[in-house]
Symmetry: C2
Subunit: 491 residues, 2 copies
């Protein structure tokens, strides 16, 4: 079918842009780096939000909302934090416009200059820990387990829809604890929530691990992450969870009276995932025909298209379809019956294929006679003609099957693309010819890590959980190493 | 009970602040005018969002997301619009910080000045209509029925938690239509959605009407509104829906080919409600003991408190309560069993009363023996001892009754506080002594409206729907008038 799609083989990057555009997910706005998330793209985000929000609440978290603006001085309180974010801050300096004296339009009113500049939050640790200071006196006030759904701004110079935008939507959890171990366990717990979400809802296999010191979040003691592999062999960091130690408590002087009646600094974690996940979703499953959505994240799970020549036929089909729609809805399936008269069925088939709707059902006059319907699954594009009587049962099972198949397919691809390299040449050869993850020895220094990044454009994605210890030599310096770490070129 | 509450009679304004603080709804942040919405306050907002979002979707709308930032030049395109918002804009002028040369901290990097300043959105008509320009070519692309849930910023000088804050959360619907009548009907439809939401969920009676030209949204042809009455006799605008005509289409040159193949400007509506509704909710129902929540908006509808002297008693109570909890959950009721051992039952009774939980159930050892429980409804504070066997049934009915009672109570109060004034003295006397809404004749000019505002501190809240025509004389100028309009002092 001619869809005017660039194929992945031709130009992966253009293929990605085509999917985002043709599936109507998002577009660039008039404001550099800020995207417009279109209704269909936003519906996917709502599905993600719904599932994640439930998981957060099931693990004892509550939502709250903290200010969009952060006083400049707050950012500076934690040294590593300001170092990490200062270069990409949107800065508010004035609070009023006025008419230009020459009538040429509105200008910034110089009399409305702020005493202290405000930063549009790039992340909220500072404003939240300044708030927590007033919420915490004793161990009885702990833990605090807050999350917020919010927009954040990081002034990126090179942006790509969903993957890297100046403004993006995300959630950020910020928790406060009485003990170090509890804060560490919280960070781990939420990493597991993210991994479960990625695998069970997005059907996207992830590797859990710990970031090297150089790749840590600015202000964290430890950063945990989930790393996914895209179809072009590049890695994508899909979520991070940070153990912050007492860094922010110290920066904002947040102490509590422990059970022994002694003052102690509070322990912290923070964790977040963003609309970047939509980019990851696209690049994990989609094909040269368009978007492919796992049923658990699909705004429309089943679309039903009538094929007819006259109104009488449409009416007969509709009678039958409405029963099916009701049955599917009763089973909690989101279904759309597209009987729009202004579009041809062929156009619709193509449209829903491009938009990645997991199951398409088509019913024509002959199907009616035979009490059948044609069912096409989006993941494999296989067609089946099935009895109408058991169609709802069949579709429920098919959705499960598609969800599982997408996960298994991605898992096999991912596993087939984890390779070991023992020398620099092997390392470069894998990166240049095959891509994917490379397990290789590293001498443990930031200096070497940066050198490898410079030479190979690859970074340490993580030190995987349960990483086996093994003596070896650093692929770059030849110095001794006791474990391989996971490298990749990454988004 | 001593709750350290200021009563409404003593100081209404302080009473409001006490409720917000003691019910743990929100607090001021370190950033002037920006609030922190605390978990319990945010949970109320989530209930509001959930109900409204469903109503929007049921009326055919979809969610999307548009940029936080608006180029300064966009604001200026619609003359009335920029006039209305220029004086309260947060302006971004730079995109980077850097370390001060003297090591004193971070400063704004003068080399990172934006060519054109960006405004943090005070409302999104301009950025959205600039986007719609690319979405609309022909009548087939219409209508567009988008909503977004977002934060907005208006630099208010005098702020009050929920009622008036520099940053607030809201939803803004922005629709595009092929005909004038369709856009007008959309604006009306959404005003009706707001009124239904206010009355059915918030149990807050509202008067639907049209704003006078002077009180219109900046850029609207007509502004429809719902007006509620607070317990202190002041009015509160709870939601607005605007018919924008072709103003923004003209400002952003958005045309479509109509069915006659002619180019025409697109017609528009926009509509919004915000976290201000939480302020309205507080001031409609709460009493001198704390917050009172209508069941439809309460994050916790029923709280169950065990009263016990030892662990054995608690265990026995818990066995029984767990059955009740399950029964209530099965009926879709949100219930909390508070068996926290570190707090006394008396403390809990007070806590949930202050937080406005609609129904409190208490069970002690004697209740167990008698197979009974004590049930207290928050709206009237009435106590009843009831058989355990039919408790779930009873609670379901009681929640309905509370919802209805709150609405009826507010409706009676509101209706008793709509008065007619035929002279200036009557008008002032009602405003000064009784408050509430005043129906009075007005000569229809903005000049008189402003004069009344200056002299009486009262504004025209709206010209109510189905307002009867009636000859009379303007209370201020004595000039002829053909209808009364609704005045009040307002938040």
């Amino acid at each position: 079918m001619a869809k005017n799609f660039t194929t992945r083989a031709e130009n992966y990057s253009q293929w990605y842009n085509d999917i985002v555009k043709k599936a109507d997910l998002a577009e660039n706005s008039a404001v550099r780096g800020c995207m417009v998330i279109k209704p269909y793209g936003y519906a996917i985000w709502e599905k993600m939000q719904g599932a994640l929000d439930k998981m957060f609440k099931d693990t004892g978290h509550v939502n709250a909302y903290f200010p969009l603006f952060i006083p400049k001085s707050f950012l500076s309180r934690e040294a590593a934090h300001v170092e990490g974010f200062a270069k990409e801050c949107a800065v508010i300096t004035h609070y009023r416009l006025k008419n230009a004296a020459d009538g040429s339009g509105v200008i910034v009113d110089p009399d409305a200059k702020l005493e202290e500049e405000l930063i549009v939050r790039p992340t909220s640790e500072t404003i939240i820990w300044n708030t927590y200071k007033n919420w915490i006196q004793s161990y009885r006030d702990l833990p605090i387990l807050c999350n917020q759904w919010a927009n954040v701004v990081r002034w990126e110079m090179r942006t790509r829809l969903f993957l890297r935008t100046a403004e993006f939507l995300w959630q950020e959890g910020h928790t406060a604890h009485a003990t170090e171990i509890e804060a560490q366990q919280e960070a781990e717990k939420m990493l597991n929530v993210y991994a479960d979400f990625a695998e069970k809802f997005m059907a996207m296999p992830v590797i859990k691990g710990v970031k090297s010191p150089n790749e840590r979040f600015a202000g964290a003691v430890d950063t945990l992450c989930i790393e996914a592999l895209m179809q072009d062999g590049k890695a994508l960091q899909a979520g991070t969870s940070h153990f912050l130690g007492q860094n922010f408590a110290k920066a904002f002087d947040v102490k509590f009276l422990n059970k022994e009646n002694q003052l102690e600094y509070v322990w912290a974690s923070s964790w977040g995932v963003s609309t970047r996940l939509i980019g990851a979703l696209i690049m994990t499953h989609s094909d040269d025909n368009g978007l492919v959505l796992p049923p658990q994240i699909a705004p429309i799970q089943v679309v039903i298209v009538p094929v007819y020549r006259n109104e009488e036929q449409l009416n007969e089909i509709s009678v039958k379809v409405n029963i099916l729609v009701q049955k599917l809805k009763n089973r909690g399936i989101s279904v759309k019956y597209d009987d729009d008269d202004s579009k041809r069925s062929g156009w619709k088939f193509n449209e829903y294929e491009v938009k990645g709707v997991p199951v398409r059902v088509a019913i024509g006059p002959r199907d009616l006679e035979n009490n059948e319907a044609e069912v096409v699954r989006r993941d494999t594009l296989e067609k089946q003609t099935l009895s109408f009587d058991t169609l709802d049962e069949h579709i429920v099972n098919l959705l499960d099957e598609i969800q599982n198949n997408l996960f298994q397919r991605s898992l096999e691809f991912r596993n087939a693309n984890i390779r070991k390299a023992d020398t620099w040449d092997e390392f470069m050869s894998i990166l240049d010819n095959e891509g994917g993850f490379v397990l290789a020895h590293w001498d443990g220094t930031t200096e070497t890590e940066e050198k490898i990044k410079e030479l190979a454009k690859a970074t340490i994605r993580c030190i995987p959980y349960n990483n086996p210890l093994e003596d070896g030599k650093c692929i770059c310096t030849g110095k001794p190493s006791n474990q391989r770490v996971l490298f990749a070129r990454a988004y």
